[in-house]
């Protein structure tokens, strides 16, 4: 109370601008460079080239098989990659946190540095490793004398899924490791001294504690997978069209801007809805973490 009045007196005397006015310059910048262009995309999507304003572009695009295939591809790839990231991230985080070995933590920090690198480098590396003229296939043909190697999946959706799992798993590991750090180890000791074996301890003690972190990491990865463009572009597969690829193809390759805007609006709606869900999950987990910290005092 005292600090509030002490702060209010000089503010009232010296600062003639109201507090909210300071938000105007950055809001204007954001509005001009982001919100206004985004509104124009929505506007463009209801303004066909023939003039006037109607929803005809939506009918055409949403009814086309190209769009429906792209939507299906996007959802299947994103869901599979997210599931893979959750399983892999949980396993790896579990070992780092509860079966520690020298260098394990350092390794997980190295992974953080990788996140500073662009995603498409993963696809580039996978092309060297598993591509049709890559290392694994080369070894196979040298060993067996066959004309072609056994691996030819990089140009399929599974190549994209593998690359996305590799790139996005750290995003699941980070919140999990933070959650495991807050976990009271006495619970684990108690459970195992009462005779619970490791799988039971993981299922009954660790997993329930990790669920909020898993939900937060999983929904973030899902959003990022839905919007991933670089990995899909670098696989260069004609058969793998996702929504971002469709936006790029329609606008840049076909010059069909109204069509591209329709696809863009659809993917923005899906993505913003999921991201809102993610933020709700994160803000629900935050009070819980505060409580644990207070309890650990």
């Amino acid at each position: 109370m005292a600090s509030a009045t002490a702060g209010a007196v000089p503010t009232g005397r010296q600062l003639s601008v109201p507090r909210w006015a300071w938000t105007l310059p950055p809001l204007a910048a954001l509005g001009l460079a982001f919100l206004y262009p985004l509104a124009l995309v929505v506007w463009q999507s209801v303004s066909p080239d023939s003039g006037g304003h109607d929803l005809s572009a939506y009918g055409q695009v949403l009814g086309s098989t190209v769009f429906r295939e792209a939507l299906l591809n996007t959802v299947v790839i994103a869901a599979s990659a997210t599931a893979g990231c959750l399983v892999l991230g949980f396993t790896l985080a579990l070992v780092i946190a509860f079966v520690p070995f020298p260098g394990g933590r350092a390794l997980s920090r190295v992974v953080d540095v990788f996140l500073a690198f662009p995603s498409f480098l993963i696809t580039l590396a996978l092309l060297f490793l598993y591509g049709t003229t890559g290392i694994v296939n080369g070894l196979w043909t040298q060993a067996t004398g066959a004309a072609n190697g056994p691996l030819d999946f990089l140009q399929t959706p599974w190549g994209v899924v593998l690359a996305e799992i590799t790139y996005f798993t750290p995003f699941v590991m980070r919140p999990l490791l933070a959650a495991f750090e807050r976990l009271d180890t006495a619970q684990i000791e108690a459970a195992s001294s009462l005779g619970a074996r490791a799988p039971r301890v993981v299922g009954r003690v660790i997993l329930p504690e990790a669920l909020p972190a898993l939900a937060a990491g999983g929904s973030l990865v899902l959003v990022m997978c839905l919007n991933e463009f670089g990995i899909v572009l670098f696989t260069g597969a004609k058969g793998v069209t996702t929504l971002p690829m469709l936006v790029y193809g329609k606008a840049i390759l076909d010059g069909d801007y109204p069509g591209a805007c329709v696809v863009a609006v659809v993917s923005v709606v899906v993505s913003v809805a999921l991201h809102t869900l993610y933020r709700a999950v994160v803000s629900r987990t935050l009070p819980a973490s505060g409580g644990t910290r207070a309890a650990a005092r």
Binding site: P37, V95, L124, L127, F234, V247, V268
Partner: protein, 265 residues
């Protein structure tokens, strides 16, 4: 300790390494080795060469590196200014106002980068604001994408800041501007430099929005990496990728040194 038997622990660690190394360590190692290889379709590369680097750094690609560096520096500085200003202004608002600012400034993360590119193309292709075809449109796109991260990292740091310092300064008669300049910004310096480094790294590797709107005269490094691999010159692409990773790491290292000095002060 979850596993008590020594054998069980060894198995868990072995599983970890078997999953971890091929997935995370191998990809970047492969790119680095491939960039020096003459050809590689066996266990080991056929021969060593620096030819790919000579190709990569002669002419066009050297230009691409300069373009990427200039874009990343400009975009991260603009994003830092806008993001930090917005976070500082939002911090002084009431709960509802802060919520609106949070939603607006994290929105660029939720919108697909390709759509950010498309929207700028739609908005700035005709007068009065004709940015299409100029470096400005690439820098604007990167700045929009990076601002959200700058905002998040500065507002997280603000939430952790001890209000006592600025209250003491204000009670001793320091004006709000002086409190901001002498107390808040110095205390926020580590997070500000961190945000700048993150923004730089993200901008260096940005491909999605860039593919939508780069003019031929302003081709950033990720686009030339895509160009090389699309032509089938995977090894040149690898050399360019190593240049990209090395530059990003060097700048991050420099930023973290500045950051350590800032937090030491």
């Amino acid at each position: 300790m979850l596993l008590h038997g020594k054998a069980a622990r060894l198995i868990a660690q072995a599983v970890f390494l078997v999953l971890f190394l091929p997935l995370f360590a191998l990809p970047f190692l492969v790119i680095v080795v491939a960039s020096f290889a003459t050809d590689w379709n066996g266990a080991l590369p056929s021969g060593l060469t620096v030819q790919h680097y000579r190709e990569a750094l002669g002419g066009d690609a050297a230009h691409a590196l300069t373009v990427s560096l200039l874009t990343a520096v400009a975009a991260s500085l603009v994003a830092l200014l806008v993001g930090a200003w917005a976070a500082l202004a939002a911090h002084r608002l009431r709960r509802a106002g802060r919520g609106v600012m949070d939603t607006l400034f994290t929105l660029p993360v939720a919108v697909p980068s390709v759509v950010v590119g498309l929207s700028l193309l739609v908005a700035f292709s005709k007068p009065p604001l004709l940015l299409n075809g100029t470096p400005g449109i690439v820098i604007t796109a990167h700045a929009v994408l990076v601002t959200a991260f700058a905002y998040q990292s500065v507002s997280a740091a603000l939430a952790r800041l001890d209000p006592a310092c600025e209250q003491i300064a204000a009670s001793l008669g320091a004006s709000p501007a002086r409190v901001l300049w002498r107390i808040r910004i110095p205390l926020l310096l580590p997070s500000l430099t961190g945000a700048a480094g993150l923004g730089f790294a993200l901008s260096m590797g940005e491909l999605s929005a860039t593919m939508m709107l780069y003019p031929p005269s302003w081709t950033p490094l990720p686009v030339s990496i895509f160009g090389a691999t699309d032509r089938g010159s995977l090894f040149t692409g690898a050399a360019l990728a190593v240049v990209l990773m090395a530059t990003t790491l060097l700048v991050l290292l420099a930023v973290s040194r500045v950051r350590n000095r800032a937090s030491y002060r």
